[in-house]
Amino acid sequence: MEFLMAALIGVMFAAGTYMILRPSLIRIVMGFGLYSNASNLLLIACGGFAPDWESPFISEAAGTLMDPLPPDIILTAIVISFAVSALLLTVAYRVYLDHDSDDPEKLPPDSLA
């Protein structure tokens, strides 16, 4: 299970990096989507797994409870990455409308204009 998870996270980060390095704004935004999902998976893996762990909501259970903190962190991270992705998508669209191109290399260099 650990190997499977590690391989999946690695592939997702690699794919995300590839997308971010493409010369296309929409692919860059999608790359960040992959990044945030890969980091969420990594957080799940950080909490560890065992089939007999129980959910942390049942306080009187005799078995081992799973650690509630990693899911907690993931929830916060999902909300934040959702908001930032929405913003990034909007800004990317606006840049496309302004400059009629979604190739970041075709954008004009920084000047006072």
């Binding site: 950080c46 560890g48 306080s59 409870l65 903190l69 962190i73 990034l88 800004v91 920084d110």
Partner: protein
């Protein structure tokens, strides 16, 4: 348990909500925004006094106890940063109220400013690594909005790059939070210091590797070498006045986090490796920053590049903390003093550069000139602030560099001391360039293009502070020394945060935390 520790967060937050509803009534917005920021400044100084007299104060949310609940901690370092953030914020806002374009002011300028204050104050006060991540995000999202306020083509285009760079940083940050929790079983900063000190062997090396990753995140926010390239493109587009606050505070949040995490928190055997890497990076940061500044011709761009080289000095102080306790103490004290000096001087230079640009109609040095005839007061302010940045006596920059270089010599790090001195000389050259081209040359204008008297007041306050800090350096040095003592030795910090849990009604905690 001090509930008032949450006030520096609650005040900007509630003001931001109120201001969002007042959008479209500029006079009311300005009055409320200025009043709230002034109140926040008063509160920050009161808190600094309290902490200076009574020691570190901590608050844990929800009535929980420290490693489980989310902690807010005010030590001297956090309070110093809080005072700088709110007072420089108030002055930058006062400047911006005179100079902001109506188009920008209508685009939620005032609420965004309060949200920015919220994020920055939060980053200073939090005592929890994941909470620090959330604070960074609040600060970043507010700064994205602030950069695009008014939404010109250039602003949107440059902000896109800034968002992209910082999103990569945030992804790595959240991954680091997970890895720190997986290796140490805690995210509370006092608890990280406690647990990492007990590690040895393979586990300690693992924690060092994770902390190295975290160092990259903070170095990106602080604009240290080799991840500084985003800064000179993004800061010049911030609305006038507010770029003083951006230049002063935002990169310093990264420096503060480096100080907090790598001097206070990570104490495993081998932790000094990260500091040694930082020391090497600091030399490159100083040189690249100042060399970048030399080939620029626009005042705001020159000043932006100088932020990078100045961050190098602060990172150098943090890097010197790898040495023995005495040197580490002196180096951290020097870093804190430098941060205070830098925030004040850099903010004032951005404000003065803005005024000079308005007076002469351009910030392009080859096209401007004669500001000394058009506005002699502005030229005087620039001369003082520029000399202070370069480290000339009797201004604060001289003492900041003096204590830092003495710490470097005490550690025998001659190479880095040499680099810092060369950088200082080149900074003086760069300031002289702005002076010679922008201020001294004959101008084609016969009268200033814009009114500037009211704008000079906030800049004059900051310049007065750098002069005062140079002439009477002792109180600030004393405060920096006391603040450094609490950072280098974590015992007082831990005692304030990790109070013993009373036996009855002990809160239930799951996971690794329950082992304590």
């Amino acid at each position: 348990m001090n509930p008032h520790l949450i006030l520096p967060l609650l005040i900007p937050f509630s003001t931001a909500i109120l201001l969002a509803f007042l959008n479209g009534f500029p006079r009311l917005e300005r009055a409320l925004n200025l009043a709230s920021t002034a109140g926040l400044t008063a509160l920050s100084f009161w808190l600094l006094g309290e902490v200076d007299r009574g020691g570190i104060q901590a608050m844990v949310a929800g009535g929980w106890f420290a490693p489980w609940g989310i902690a807010f901690v005010a030590d001297r370092l956090a309070c110093i940063m809080l005072c700088l953030s709110s007072s420089v914020g108030a002055l930058a806002l006062a400047y911006a109220c005179f100079s902001v374009e109506p188009r920008q002011e209508r685009s939620f300028f005032h609420p965004l400013f309060q949200l920015l204050l919220l994020g920055v104050n939060w980053a200073f006060l939090t005592g929890d690594l994941f909470n620090l991540f959330v604070a960074y995000e609040v600060m970043l999202v507010a700064s994205y909005g602030m950069m695009m306020v008014g939404a010109s083509k250039r602003q949107v285009r440059q902000t896109l790059k800034y968002i992209a760079i910082n999103s990569v940083g945030s992804t790595v940050f959240v991954v680091c939070c997970g890895l720190v929790y997986a290796t140490l079983g805690t995210l509370n900063m006092a608890d990280i210091a406690l647990r990492s000190a007990q590690l040895d062997g393979e586990r300690a090396a693992l924690v060092t590797a994770v902390s190295m990753l975290l160092m990259v995140v903070f170095a990106l926010k602080a604009a240290a070498f080799p991840v500084f390239f985003w800064l000179p493109d993004s800061y010049p587009i911030v609305p006038a006045g507010l770029n003083g606050y951006f230049a002063g505070l935002l990169t310093k949040v990264g420096v503060y986090s480096l100080l907090r995490m790598f001097v206070l928190c990570f104490r495993q055997p081998g932790a000094e490796l990260v500091l040694q890497v930082l020391l090497v990076l600091s030399g490159f940061t100083m040189l690249f920053g100042v060399l970048g500044a030399l080939c620029q011709w626009e005042i705001r761009k020159i000043l932006s590049w100088h932020i990078i080289s100045q961050v190098g000095y602060m990172v150098m102080g943090i890097g010197l903390a790898a040495a023995g306790a005495d040197v580490a103490f002196a180096a951290v004290a020097a870093t804190i003093f430098y941060v205070v000096h830098h925030i004040v001087v850099k903010a004032s230079l951005f404000l003065i550069g803005g005024i000079a640009g308005r007076v002469a109609g351009t910030q392009e040095l080859r096209a401007m000139g004669g500001v000394i005839d058009l506005a002699p007061g502005v030229a005087g302010l620039f001369l003082v602030a520029g000399f202070s940045l370069a480290g000339m006596p009797p201004f604060s920059g001289f003492f900041a560099k003096l204590v830092l270089i003495r710490a470097g010599l005490a550690d025998g790090q001659l190479a880095i001391v040499l680099v810092s001195l060369v950088t200082s000389l080149l900074t003086l050259f760069s300031m002289a360039k702005i002076w010679a081209y922008g201020f001294w040359r004959a101008s084609s204008l016969s009268a200033p293009l814009a009114r500037h008297r009211a704008l000079m007041a906030p800049a004059a306050v900051l310049v007065a502070f750098t002069v005062a800090m140079g002439l009477v350096a002792e109180p600030v040095l004393r405060l920096a020394n006391d603040a450094a003592r609490d950072v280098v030795d974590p015992s007082a910090y831990q005692a304030a945060v990790l109070v013993p849990v009373p036996a009855p009604g002990q809160p239930h905690a799951a996971g690794e935390g329950s082992a304590r």
